[in-house]
Amino acid sequence: MKTRKNQKGAVTLILVMLMAVLIVFLIAGWQSRLLLSLHRTRALSDILLLTYHAESKIYDILARFLGGYPNAFDFPFTSDEVLPDGTKLTTTGKEEGNLKTLTVTTKRLFGTTNLEITKEETETESEFLHDTHIVMSLDCTASMGEKACPTCSTSRMDEQKKAVLNFLNELETTEGHERIKVGISVFELKSDWLYTSYAADGTPTGVAVRPDSPLSLNDIRSAVNNGFGHSGDTGSKACRKIFTYTSVGSGLAFMHDYLRTTATENLDQVEILITDGVPNQRIPYSPCPENIFCPGTPGLCGSVPGWSCLAGKSGSACTPYARDFLRCTLADSGTNWTGEAGAVNGVSNTGARDPEVDVYTVTVLDTPSSSGELENFNKVTSIFDTYSTEYYPLSEADKLSEKLKLILEKIITKVNRYQIKRVVPTPIR
């Protein structure tokens, strides 16, 4: 009797154990499938996050380069950061010659993404050369009639004219030069275009030499030969209708106004300004305080239609205003300049130039004859040096040609190419 009871208990135990084993197997199978599904979902979400973070970083780097911050990265470097969602982001930068390479690596538990951006400054190749508009502003003041250098037989105006003609010749020999258009303007008190022909009194009768005018390089060369004489002011046809004395800011403001109206996304715009003088007057120009007419000689008060002088705002009182006007027109809109005593006086303002427009300036300033002149020269050269894209100070005008050649080389070689690519990691074997 006892034996039979024991047999029943053993059978029940075996059945229960079998059921338990079956249930354990089912649960284990179910759980492993569940885990696999969870991991698969997690892997996909990780990859989406990795791609998003890596792309964000790489386009942020591109924006810094394109936005005009070429020195944002101090090559070579490696930086690590952990983003708020736990993604590890590593950026490495290396530099080999003209080639800068930045690699962005993002890592999470289930994946890694590598993206690479390269920045290369290429030599001139027509296929990479951008459509470019270059506008020159040439000094027309009376001092341009002075000797180019103590031993020279030519005047500064002769050298300026020669430099511009050489610039045009040099441009013509450049592959793809058809994509570069040139405009030429002049300044004294006011500024205007150079025209292809003039009446005897200097009234323009031809076509303005603007980048968008249908003029060939030959037409522009003829216009330069015709418009400029041996001296500035009344000595050159191109200079007779823009009054007298020096407002360098007028030349810059004139170029800004033109380029603003023709700016397009894929057009490079460049300004080149040549002057042999220090600014001593300003014109009304609303982006630049104080927006007044302040001529370098009281004789101009009442001579310029539409503009009148304020009391005490003429003659030597205009020099600080003229320098502030130069600061304002030369600085770009992302840069602050501070007005000097006697004019805008300590007030901080932003510049009037579009930061996308490069400005190259050349000054021909001979040896100062007094400490006052030296101080004035130093102030002016400091302004050019601070706010120009590139500044070339000269003491003799016969070096103008080589400086303009240098500027042309800068313009046509300044083509940066950026390439972004995905880097597939090599499998570890």
């Binding site: 179910w30 499938r33 696999l36 698969r40 892997a43 996909l44 990859i47 972004i420 995905r422």
Partner: protein, 155 residues
Amino acid sequence: MAKRELKNIKGFSLIELVVAIALASVVFIIVGSILATFVTQNTKSERQEMFEQAKNDIVMELSNNIRWGKDFVVTEDTLLIDGNKYHVEDGHFMKNSQNLTMDNVSVKKIEVFNVSTDPNLVGVDMTLVLADRNYPLATDVIHLVVSQRRTDVSN
């Protein structure tokens, strides 16, 4: 003597048998239902995983290659990226001659559009209808919209 011995052997009464059979039936019904549910769920989840796997494979392959591709040709049922042809052949999603989907998944329908408004870049809108080869009524849809990235910039 023999009669006496038989009398001494105790058997199961009818009621005991009925109760035992009823209990056993209840246990079997419960266990059977649980097993049936497991099997059904298992089949469903297997199918779902199969579709998920196929979707993952196709989405990862295409989204990466569309993003970073250079040359595109988009027709209504074919996508050509840098010389690699993505198309459907015999119900398989193919990259050139390589099958990207598992054998138990078939692709019933493919539609491809270029939805980019930028003539220089491609934006792919692709719809794929997947089906279970063993049970074609079970389907799933992949809808993928990915744009080509601008990778060459100069200034």
